[in-house]
């Protein structure tokens, strides 16, 4: 039997019931599209991470509170013992060699308001003068926070690009007064556009002197005692080769200051690479979860095909009998129904590829989520669809091939 004949007969079988064919294919369409979109999203995330490495450089150290470290402040070690403080940052800056900058960050969330325009839930960073240098953000207008601002608890604020646009439009806001929470501050500068890096939208932030956070934005009496607690201390190391040495020195210094040992230190000192590795392992876990979801939907699609093929075999029992009477061998019948299942799954696969590529593009455009469609993922999805078609088409096709011609001809 010629291939064109087999395809023609299978095609006729499908086109007889177009809506049903479409609904049957839907499972495969969704499965294939899901595979492609999932892979495109995780590839996009990976690309973003590798961009982060390039953007941020590898010479930064992040000193942060260990996870869970805050829950058990020891009675004997004093209130400040287990919290990272501004004084720790000063000590690092003053006594560690081989570093070119120390930045302290303490972030809070506040409503920012200029006249009648307000922006809710803005990340307000209390920080120190080296921030633009260490975080690699440039100044668009005005100036950044200075040491004088820090020393005087000056009521000044520097705006991120987007926030400045939202509040002031194209007017230069330097010299204007805005409210951050209940506190009235003078805008002294605007930062240049930087965009989203990782999970951080740099342009939506605003910056105030670190000491102002301690004075005006730490409300509870308990927290006030903890007054100069900070979130992250960023240390810029001059020479990459000294990274490990500097890490050890910082750990020893902090252990001494907090009256503990390096082993029990409630803080972690990590490099940019460590953070990226953590992010990557999170992404990998996420990706394998998505892969399973996609695989499951493909299997569900396959079961849909099997279901419809079984219905089709029953409906067309008489046709099978006629074909057998006129000389079709079991192989011909099996081939016909297998081809039909394969045609369904491949057509579904093709539509799924289009939907997957289109969906990835939409995620990129509308969802603001970076996606990279990998050619291999298209191949993988398409081949999976074919395998699903053959696997789930085989049982119904075999059932059709095994029908007894006499019974089949008698079937109403």
């Amino acid at each position: 039997m010629k291939l064109s004949e087999i395809l023609r007969i299978a095609g006729e079988g499908i086109s007889r019931n177009k809506l049903r064919a479409l609904l049957t294919m839907l499972g495969v369409i969704i499965g294939v599209a899901a595979v492609i979109i999932m892979i495109a999203i995780s590839a996009g995330t990976e690309a973003t991470i590798s961009d982060n490495i390039k953007n941020l450089g590898t010479n930064l150290l992040f000193v942060t509170q260990s996870m869970g470290g805050q829950q058990a402040p020891s009675r004997t070690s004093g209130m400040n013992a287990t919290f990272l403080t501004y004084d720790d940052a000063k000590a690092i800056n003053n006594s560690i060699a081989g570093i070119s900058g120390v930045v302290v960050e303490r972030d809070i969330t506040e409503l920012v308001k200029y006249e009648s325009t307000s922006v809710d839930s803005v990340t307000v960073i209390g920080t120190t003068p080296s921030y633009p240098q260490v975080r690699d953000v440039s100044q668009a207008s005005g100036r950044f926070i200075t040491q004088t601002d820090i020393d005087n608890n000056a009521k000044v604020v520097v705006l991120g690009y987007t926030t400045a646009q939202t509040l002031f439009g194209d007017v230069d806001p330097v010299g204007e007064k805005i409210y951050v929470g209940d506190v009235r501050l003078t805008v002294v500068g605007v930062m240049a556009k930087k965009g989203v890096v990782g999970n951080t939208d740099y342009d939506a932030r605003v910056y105030i002197p670190l000491t102002l956070v301690f004075e005006k934005f730490t409300f509870s009496p308990f927290a006030r005692v903890q007054g100069d607690q900070v979130g992250t201390i960023l240390v810029q190391v001059t020479n990459l080769n000294n990274m490990n040495k500097v890490i050890t020195q910082i750990q020893i210094l902090l252990a001494k200051r907090h009256e503990t040992t390096v082993a029990n230190l409630p803080f972690t000192v990590r490099t940019q690479e460590d953070i990226i590795a953590t992010q990557e392992s999170t992404t990998a876990a996420f990706r394998s979860l998505l892969a399973w979801v996609a695989a499951v939907s493909l299997v569900v699609g396959g079961i849909g095909i099997m279901n419809i093929m079984l219905v089709s075999v029953t409906e067309r029992t008489r046709e099978i009998g006629i074909r057998q009477a006129t000389g079709a061998i079991p192989g011909d019948i099996r081939g016909q129904f297998l081809t039909e299942a394969l045609l369904l799954s491949l057509t579904g696969g093709l539509i799924g590829v289009i939907a997957g590529v289109g969906g990835s593009w939409l995620f990129n455009k509308i969802g603001d989520m970076r996606t990279v469609v990998l050619p291999n993922s298209i191949l993988l999805a398409f081949v999976s669809a074919a395998v699903v078609g053959i696997f789930f088409g085989f049982y119904p096709a075999n059932k059709a091939a095994q029908l007894d011609p006499i019974e089949a001809l008698r079937h109403e």
């Binding site: 006729e12 057998q324 000389g327 061998i329 079991p330």
Partner: protein
Amino acid sequence: MSETNIIELEQITKIYKMGNVEVTALDGISLSVEAGEFIAIMGPSGSGKSTLMNILGCLDRPTSGSYLLAGEDVSRMSREQLAHIRNQKIGFIFQSYNLLAQATALQNVLMPIVYRRNGHISTKDRLELAHNALISVGLADRDHHKPTEMSGGQQQRVAIARALVNSPALILADEPTGNLDSHSGLEIMTILQDLNAQGRTIVMITHDAKNTAYAEKTVYLKDGKLNGNTNPINESVYAEVGGLT
């Protein structure tokens, strides 16, 4: 055993097992059909007609006995081999036509050619073969009609064209007029008679005594056994009908 015999049945039995009960549907049938013969097999329902038809049509295998079809022993063949035999040596005409409803007349007639395995036939030749078969049953202008757009008589003629298209050694008709009015039935019987006159071997199973008049020979089946031979009346009826055509 004659060289010219198309069908040679030797002591054919067919026993069905239903649980512990054995039902003998055919009980030692022996029958010879010569090339070019037109024979009718008659019998009441339950006589084993359908079973005999299935065995003659190579749709089923006998429990014992031998069946030579055009010189080949088909009684012990595999499903695949039987399918080939059906394709090349047998043309079926069913009571209920058994056409594919969604296919055109031409596509229906093409079906046995599609499943042919001996030698390649170009698409053009296939269409010509099918078209010629339709011409031979008087449906030259019905190539692209679907069964639903045709009368019962026309549908049965398409089925006859399908039975003829692979030039089989045997045409097996199972109650060919059972679903037709008397006029269409007459038409179909006339076509069968013409085919027989052109040298085709025809075996017809029927319970309609009128149809046996067209056959050269009628055998009677009762309780799985054959009795009866050449029906003496047949000769005259055949001559009469032959005179009409």
